[in-house]
Symmetry: C2
Subunit: 203 residues, 2 copies
Amino acid sequence: MPKKVDHEARRLEISEALWRIASTRGLDGVSLRDVAAEADISLGRLQHYFRTKDEMLLFALRHINVLADRRIRERVSAVAADLGGEPPPRRVLRECLAGMLPLDEKSRVGALVGAAYFARAVHDDRLSAEAQEGIPKLAEFFAGLLREAMERGEVVAGRDADDEAMRLISLVDGLTAYTLLGVQGAERALGLLDGYLEGLFVG
Amino acid sequence: MPKKVDHEARRLEISEALWRIASTRGLDGVSLRDVAAEADISLGRLQHYFRTKDEMLLFALRHINVLADRRIRERVSAVAADLGGEPPPRRVLRECLAGMLPLDEKSRVGALVGAAYFARAVHDDRLSAEAQEGIPKLAEFFAGLLREAMERGEVVAGRDADDEAMRLISLVDGLTAYTLLGVQGAERALGLLDGYLEGLFVG
């Protein structure tokens, strides 16, 4: 294996060890040594790939976001295949938002890593920079879909695309949190999202 | 001071030390020893009041919720005094929801303790039981206000009070998270909440 690929593959293996810990007992108080043990490598070897816990958490979070992105694209492609063409913007938006909810094991692990990230990032400028960059990009993408739907006359009057995009992201974030806490089931969270979209779109 | 009051006062002092840590560097990896040092007492003395980190976190969270509750009641009373009578349900709901956002230093500290609680509670049944009990009660209170507003013909048609209550709580939770992460300012979060309420109520 070329050296660069190998390096990346090792980082992914370590990330997976981190995810396993994140999805079972959480990352509070977890050290590099704990992750090395879970990955069955030495601490020294782990530190060759990640110098700090935050560096490791950021890599794991980014990779989980890449996987989530891929999963959501697949959802949208499946809908496109079903419909035999490009799905309408409302449908694309719905699949993206539903894909952000912890509806299955993979998205649940992603959300749990997200929860660990969140608790640390509120105190760490380098970690929070990730959200400060990524969330506005996501909001812009959703606002674009909403504007497209507006041009087609599919959105109720008086809504602002940028505001609505940020509200949708916030709503899904809150629904995810209360699903992880066991306040509601994942299906109920999806129902609450769909109900909101029904009020946002006409017809 | 009577013994019981004294015990409670000591627990509050320790909670305040925990809040100071929560609001500056977060609680990830923080030990009972760290909190004892911040409270300027011995570890043994701290353990007289709290045996575990989770016990301490739960007490601190509950007390922060009591303070938030009091702050929100004061907001509602101030509005009532202004209006010279009971505010309409829409206004009560708005003050409650706005009071949950990190708009000032006190509510911000509350939200940061909430973030630390969240990251641990997703892996801990005893901690998550708090949300599983408290959130439905809060949702029921909001649903009651919404039903009252519905009877007055103030809510747009076709909304379900229970669904809407849970969506509002989730929205505020997500808006709080992105404010803590610095994705948006607190005023923007409040504007997004108010915009949502404008779409929910008529007139």
